[in-house]
């Protein structure tokens, strides 16, 4: 079970989960990966057929060229040997015509094979891109908790590219080379056994060298990626934390870190260059050796009268034609290697099953009353971690109109409770019900429509403020958006911006303060009017008075809904109908504010700590905004 649902071990590590050391360069799995990509290409049977067909035709035209050249040479020479001049001139003209035709047709079919080959790659890439996107949107929070976002982005971009290139630069090129070398060999060997073998002698050597190089380069490429990622991290953190660097006068320290990472990468890059160069040069050399032998042995045969000069020229021309594709053999082999690594990494993500998903036959959740119940809920983040539960024995009930406050030290499990309600994670014991339905028995979409969580870390998308507020329902009517903005106390601020609600925010837009972001995030959730509204420490950066105003604005909304408020700030939740004090995943105190104060436990301690009375004036300075009844009313 764990293996099926869980994240593969190699994915768990933060950076460079695929460190080459984990990866056997002769790994046996790659064939299945390639087969899988090949199967994908079959979704485009016509394009594949045309690409392969035109490749073969282009190769045949190309193979004709040396023959026509040889003929032309012989015709030109033939006259010297005593033929009729007029015949020779006519023959030359014919040979030239054939040369021109073969050359033009080769070009035409090469164009077609490249175009269709490439387009199959692009179509597959487009499909996989969409599959990847869909998959990322359905994988569970537990997956994203463990896997570095940069790693996923790299898979979606670079690895996809590796898969895309497979068809045209690996498969189609294989067909091309096989046709050229196969048919060429037949033609040459049948023309002259010895010369034919000599002109092809470099092919097996080159094939062998590129396979060896391929294994090494693939392995090193992985390592290099890993080292470059470390360097990137050093630079990124340095720039992000530049104030710390400056404050500690730590530039020399940072430069040392940079040099260390960068020299590690350099050493590897050097090795890579070395391997690449040693192989490509020796391959070229082998080609020329073969050519020299053909010239030498062929020349002796011409002198011996066994073959004509034209035949010798044909052999040499044929080698010229083979030179390019055979050099590309390395590229092709590399494309195979790359596709198998990239495909492996890419499919690994595609094949994951989300931990949290719809059960077969799950029904739509229809809210009748909207009563939320936790029944003896246990939760642990990892299945093998039974002893270390994040939550245990949590039970409570909330009816529409009620507010539940949850408070407790950091890491006590407060946010986890919030995350269990929309099934961002599944409980490991007990159950959560809404109107008596186990939330695992209803569809995720209907459940999440009913539960709105204002998250602690409010992520804004690169889009206008308006689009961000309407994120959960982009079809919403203007009036609803406007109301949400007003209720979340966003309106005043946005009104002051020159572009108003059309102001671009998010990574590429203007930056908002923490409080503004949180207000936007609240607007985004309340606009959806969910049956259960959860504020997961989402007002921490909002001052107490504004928070009070927000609470007052959504009073009507809250009257028909379950509201759960998780906060460090007692003023945010002391009005709750029930307050749960969580410590190490358990409820240690529960009750209304006055009950808990009267009980004199942990809640009381916390209250005393936060609500410090100003000594001489009676004024309260700290987080005490909420307990003044007059404020925000």
């Amino acid at each position: 079970m764990a293996a099926r649902y869980g994240v593969p071990d190699r994915l768990r590590r933060g950076l460079g989960p695929f460190a080459a050391t984990d990866d056997d360069p002769r790994g046996g799995v790659e064939f299945t990966v390639l087969l899988r990509i090949a199967r994908l290409t079959l979704r485009y049977p016509w394009q594949v057929l045309i690409a392969v067909g035109t490749t073969v035709i282009a190769a045949f035209f190309q193979l004709m060229i040396p023959q026509f050249l040889g003929d032309a040479v012989d015709h030109a020479h033939g006259f010297l040997a005593g033929g009729a001049e007029a015949d020779a001139r006519a023959a030359l003209l014919t040979a030239a015509g054939f040369l021109l035709g073969a050359s033009a047709l080769r070009g035409l079919f090469t164009m077609l094979h490249n175009y269709f080959g490439d387009s199959v790659g692009h179509c597959i890439a487009n499909r996989l891109r969409m599959d990847f996107y869909r998959q990322l949107q359905r994988l569970s929070f537990s997956f994203f908790d463990r896997v570095h976002t940069g790693e996923l982005i790299a898979r979606g971009m670079l690895d996809l590219e590796g898969v895309r290139m497979f068809f045209n630069t690996a498969l189609v090129r294989l067909v091309l080379l096989a046709t050229l070398i196969g048919t060429g060999s037949y033609l040459l060997i049948s023309a002259d056994l010895v010369l034919g073998l000599l002109s092809l002698s470099f092919v097996p050597f080159v094939a062998w060298r590129s396979s060896v190089a391929r294994l090494k380069l693939r392995w090193m490429w992985l390592l290099l990626q890993d080292r470059m990622a470390m360097l990137t991290q050093v630079m990124e953190e340095n720039l992000g934390g530049i104030r710390v660097v400056r404050a500690f006068a730590a530039q020399p320290h940072e430069m040392r870190k940079f040099d260390e990472s960068s020299l590690k990468a350099l050493a590897l890059a050097y090795d890579r260059v070395g391997i690449r160069v040693r192989n490509t040069t020796v391959m070229t050399f082998a080609y020329f050796v073969a050519m020299g032998l053909v010239l030498w042995v062929g020349g002796l045969r011409v002198i011996g009268g066994e073959i004509t000069v034209g035949t010798l020229a044909e052999f040499l021309a044929f080698m010229t034609i083979l030179q390019m594709p055979v050099r590309q053999l390395g590229m092709m082999v590399n494309a195979f290697a790359r596709a198998s690594i990239c495909g492996g990494r890419f499919f690994e993500v595609l094949d994951l099953e989300p931990r949290v998903r719809d059960r077969p036959g799950a029904e739509e959740l229809v809210i009748r009353n909207g009563v939320l119940r936790f029944e003896d809920v246990d939760f642990a983040f990892t299945e093998d971690d039974g002893a270390h539960k994040a939550l245990s024995g949590i039970s409570f009930e909330a009816r529409p109109g009620q507010t539940i406050g949850i408070v407790g030290p950091p890491g006590s499990g407060k946010s986890t409770i919030a995350h269990l309600i929309p099934r961002f994670y599944d409980v490991t014991g007990g159950r959560i019900t809404i109107d008596g339905h186990d939330i695992r028995a209803v569809t995720l979409a209907s459940l999440r429509r009913a539960v709105g969580v204002v998250q602690q870390d409010s992520f804004l998308f690169t889009a206008s403020i308006e689009n961000n507020v309407a994120y959960g329902d982009p079809w919403a009517v203007d009036e609803r958006i406007a109301r949400a903005n007003r209720d979340a106390q966003l309106h005043e601020y946005v009104g002051r911006l020159p572009m108003g609600y059309q102001t671009l925010v998010g990574e590429r837009g203007v930056s908002l303060s923490g409080g503004q972001r949180q207000r936007l995030s609240i607007a985004r959730s309340i606009m959806l009017e969910p049956a259960i509204l959860v504020f997961d420490d989402s007002t921490a950066a909002i001052d107490a008075a504004t928070e009070q105003r927000i609470r007052a604005s959504i009073k009507d909304l809250a009257a028909k809904r379950v509201t759960i408020v998780i906060s460090h700030r007692l003023s945010s939740l002391m009005h709750a109908d029930e307050i749960l004090f969580i410590e190490e995943g358990r409820i240690v105190e529960r009750g209304r504010h006055d009950e808990l104060i009267a009980a004199g436990g942990r809640y009381k301690d916390l209250y005393d700590l936060q609500i410090l009375p100003g000594e001489d004036t009676g004024i309260r300075f700290a987080d005490a905004g909420g307990d003044k009844p007059t404020e925000g009313a």
Binding site: A96, L99, R278, P409, Y471
Partner: protein, 633 residues
């Protein structure tokens, strides 16, 4: 509850919502599109990075020339073999053996030169790449913070990575471009020498190719850029969806996003198919021209051979040259694109290195050696935008061992004040004096050891807890680190982490709570052990448990040091020896908490407003308080 979905208008399938986008729709490719392929200044700058490798470069260029010469001479050897050994008056196998030996020698030299050029260029490219990146990175360590403030880390990273890599591509290919060019010239010269008329006739196809390419290039370039642009937009959207996946799932935006992403992916697919068309359309044209050139050689050259005006070997050599002739032309025009990209990238890379160092050590800067810390501002005026000072004639003194709290509304100049102690920015007028020296007269490194700084947002680096606390004080021992952690009360939670002090922190310390990160950053400041501590206290968004610890830690931190604290908490304010109240860049009050309350000025008024922090008070209330204060005093 039934009204929940009533306001939602059901969308037709496939319809795109009005208020939704995925990813940023902005592109940055214009400059590349119209960029120059040759920019003298960029080239000159670039050459400075090559200067250390002058000798190696000379060898590499020599290798390129030798390599090209051997390439050109191979058809000549074939020609000699045909004309002199095979078809000469007396067919001569002895001469053929000599020529074969010559061929062997040529390819041996070819191999050595090839090896030399590839190895040297490959390695220099890697080194220059690193030097370039290092140069940029190091420069960024010293540029003023006002530059860093307005520049996104992501943008700098794309220059450090993408632009540097584009330069590498350029460097690697440019040496081969020289080779290609020499090869082209070599072939032209040899053709004309072998037979001027036939050579000229054969070369007549070249202008045709040039015209075709000139017509083709701008269109094709537009198509290629468009493809890159759509790709980067789609990838940006993917990245955003991964970063914001928790919100996407929480708000059930999967379907909408999938559709929108499908549009982007579709654009990308179409743009790529179009680009492929443009790329491939050149193939048959080049082949047609090659065929024409061969036809010319066969018809005209063949006729000349028949007329005894040309040696057969020369005709064969011509045929070989024609086959190779278009390769350098093709790669040279490809080179144009690489160069264009490299110029744009180089421009961006050097732009980073040219950011002026506003804050720099004077040539005669002294090193601050005292352990006694004092701070004095004398009539300091400073701002970020000319004409808009944020500090106006600020003067104050913090005596050794004293702790001063800075309070005031947002925008009053608190953060600027503490930044100036560290000389993050250059002041316009007045003097900032630390331990008796103007900060402009001392080295920044020694100032960094004199003043340690704790920022509001604790920034941690990837690495272990131990490495983070030690940070740049690399001589600190394990005991020093533990002692510091104990002093700030961080030891207890650290030893409870999975690997104690050796626990690896996630990105930016994501696996610690904010309060814990704050404590680690305090411990870091203790280890650095500077006589002056400047601290920007975290605002409300810290939990009360950590707050208690932090208050204690703060006291420890300030013990025996000169301290300047931007205070948000009552306890901090009251524990300070003195309070400085800033408003609109001016000091309006100073004194102890009791004195200031008694005075009934702005401090007392703001205090009575009962906000969590002065930063939260709406402008209107501040103005009101200020006017009341003005009346009262």
């Amino acid at each position: 509850m039934a009204s929940l979905d009533a306001t939602k208008t059901a969308p037709a399938p496939g319809e795109r919502p009005p208020r939704a986008v995925v990813g940023s729709q902005i592109s940055h490719f214009e400059e590349e599109m119209f960029g120059r392929a040759f920019d003298g200044r960029v080239i000159r700058r670039f050459l400075t990075f090559l200067r250390p490798h002058r000798a190696a470069m000379a060898v590499a260029i020599a290798c390129v020339l030798v390599f090209t010469a051997t390439q050109v001479s191979i058809p000549l050897l074939i020609r000699s073999a045909i004309d002199h050994a095979l078809l000469g008056e007396s067919q001569d196998s002895a001469l053929l053996h000599v020529l074969a030996l010559g061929f062997a020698a040529v390819i041996a030299v070819n191999y050595a030169a090839n090896f030399g050029q590839e190895m040297i260029v490959g390695r220099i490219a890697e080194r220059v790449l690193i030097a370039l990146r290092r140069g940029m990175f190091e420069h960024l360590q010293h540029v003023s913070l006002s530059f860093m403030d307005r520049t996104e880390v992501g943008r700098l990273m794309s220059r450090l990575q993408g632009d540097v890599n584009a330069m590498q591509e350029f460097l690697e290919t440019s040496v081969f471009a020289i080779g290609d060019f020499v090869l082209l010239v070599g072939i032209v010269v040899v053709l004309l020498i072998l037979d001027f008329d036939l050579g000229l006739l054969t070369l007549s196809v070249v202008p045709v190719l040039l015209v075709v390419r000139i017509v083709w290039l701008p269109r094709a370039r537009e198509a290629f850029l468009r493809a890159r642009e759509t790709n980067s937009i789609a990838n940006g959207a993917l990245a955003e969806s991964i970063h914001g996946v928790r919100t996407v799932q929480g708000m059930i935006r999967e379907r909408v996003n999938y559709d929108l992403y499908d549009d982007l992916a579709g654009n990308n697919l179409r743009a790529h198919l179009r680009a492929t068309k443009f790329a491939q359309v050149m193939v048959p044209i080049v082949d047609l021209l090659t065929g024409s050139a061969m036809a010319i050689v066969v018809v005209v050259g063949g006729a000349m051979v028949l007329d005894d005006a040309l040696d057969l070997g020369v005709m064969v050599a011509f045929l070989f040259y024609v086959q190779r002739f278009f390769d350098p032309i093709r790669s040279l025009t490809m080179q144009y694109r690489v160069m264009q990209r490299a110029m744009a990238s180089g421009h961006r890379a050097f732009e980073v290195m040219d950011v002026p160092l506003e804050v720099d050590d004077k040539p005669d800067a002294v090193s601050l050696e005292t352990r006694e810390g004092s701070i004095e501002f004398r009539d300091v005026t400073f701002g970020y935008v000319p004409g808009q000072p944020v500090l106006k004639n600020v003067s104050f003194r913090v005596a050794p061992g004293e702790t001063v709290a800075l309070v005031g509304p947002t925008g009053s100049g608190k953060t600027s004040t503490i930044s100036l102690v560290h000389r993050f920015y250059e002041i316009w007028d007045g003097q900032v004096i630390v331990s008796g020296h103007d900060v402009r007269d001392v080295t920044q490194a020694s100032l960094g050891h004199m003043v340690s700084m704790v920022l509001q947002e604790p920034f941690l680096f990837t690495g272990t807890v131990f490495e983070n606390i030690r940070y740049s004080t690399t001589q600190a021992t394990r005991e020093d680190v533990e002692r510091a952690a104990r002093a700030v009360g961080a030891h207890d939670f650290i030893v409870k982490l999975a690997d104690g002090y050796e626990t690896e922190l996630d990105q930016r310390g994501g696996n610690l709570s904010l309060g814990q990160r704050q404590l680690v950053s305090f411990a870091r400041a203790i280890v650095a052990d500077a006589p002056i501590l400047v601290l920007d206290e975290a605002t409300a968004n810290i939990d009360s448990y950590s707050e208690m610890l932090i208050q204690n830690a703060l006291a420890t931190l300030l013990k025996g040091r000169t301290g300047m604290v931007i205070a948000h908490r009552l306890a901090t304010v009251r524990n300070a020896d003195r309070i400085i109240v800033l408003q609109d860049g001016e000091i309006i009050e100073t004194g102890t908490h009791t004195e200031l309350l008694a005075r009934g000025g702005l401090y007392a008024h703001l205090y009575s407003l009962n906000y969590a922090s002065f930063d939260d008070i709406p402008d209107a209330l501040i103005r009101k308080a200020a006017s009341q204060a003005a009346i009262a005093t």
